[in-house]
């Protein structure tokens, strides 16, 4: 039953929503620390990691780079987002690399992305619901 409701596409959409929610928290953290000396901003890594995990192994099996490595299937942790620290240097004298304008724009972008993915997920569930209802005849 679960495989029917949570197919591959829906899983990716859900993971994207998780990443977007985490991005919001990270943005809040960065903005709260906009004046903290020596603070380095954080960001969420998700899209590149997911694409690398999915498209590199079309058969969902890792190729062995070394004979002693064990092959394994993809795990959820390969696909999920992670929070990383942006270590780039800044021109500010307090060594804080938060750019308030960029952070605000990133937050707005993230909100819109969240809206879009939610909308898409809604559309997919609504299509399923439609089929279930109409199929009664």
């Amino acid at each position: 039953m679960n495989r029917f409701l949570v197919d591959g596409t829906n899983l990716i959409l859900q993971l994207a929503l998780d990443a977007a929610a985490e991005r919001q928290r990270v943005s809040a953290h960065n903005l709260a620390n906009v004046n903290t000396p020596n603070f380095k901003r954080q960001e969420v890594s998700f899209e590149e990691k997911l694409k690398a995990a999915l498209f590199a192994q079309p058969k969902l099996q890792l190729t062995r780079t070394h004979e002693k490595h064990l092959p394994r299937e993809l795990e959820l942790s390969d696909l999920q987002h992670e929070v990383v620290t942006d270590k780039s240097t800044s021109m500010r004298p307090d060594d804080n690399n938060v750019d308030i304008d960029r952070e605000m724009v990133l937050m707005a972008m993230n909100q819109m992305h969240f809206n879009a993915v939610t909308q898409v997920l809604n559309n997919r569930y609504s299509a399923l619901r439609y089929i279930l209802q109409e199929g009664r005849r």
Partner: protein
């Protein structure tokens, strides 16, 4: 994300104008600084903007600050032998900063900043409107 390219362009505009504002603030604050760490009077600073271009036929990718120029013109001399920074002839070198000019630049920077915010909001509204496709 590619779909938010317009917003990133606006963000680059906001960052550039904010930098310009910081420089103007520094210029005005130091309008009468006769001695900096180098021993010289303060010199006016301006930012040099450059457009970030994309491939031919595509919209550009925003603006960036390529350099912060220091004004090379000679400082203004005033006769005041009692001043601690006076030279042998009794003249004090003051920065070449015209506060009125700086205020005009300030207003320009603020208006540009606001314009970038307006563009950003317009882009956001378009995106949210697009999400209504198929809804309802």
């Amino acid at each position: 994300m590619k779909m938010f390219q317009a917003m990133q362009v606006s963000a680059s505009g906001l960052t550039a104008e904010r930098l310009r504002l910081d420089l103007i603030a520094s210029n005005i604050a130091n309008a009468h600084t006769t001695r900096t760490e180098t021993g010289e009077p303060y010199r006016r600073k301006t930012a040099v903007f450059a457009a970030v271009l994309a491939e031919a036929g595509q919209a550009g990718e925003g603006v960036r600050v390529t350099a912060i120029r220091t004004d090379p013109t000679e400082p203004r001399l005033e006769y005041d032998p009692t001043h601690p920074d006076a030279n042998e002839e009794g003249y004090v070198a003051y920065p070449n900063i015209n506060v009125v000019q700086e205020m005009v630049d300030l207003v320009t920077a603020v208006r540009s900043y606001e314009a970038n915010v307006t563009v950003l909001n317009a882009g956001k509204n378009m995106f949210l409107k697009a999400l209504e496709i198929g809804r309802g």
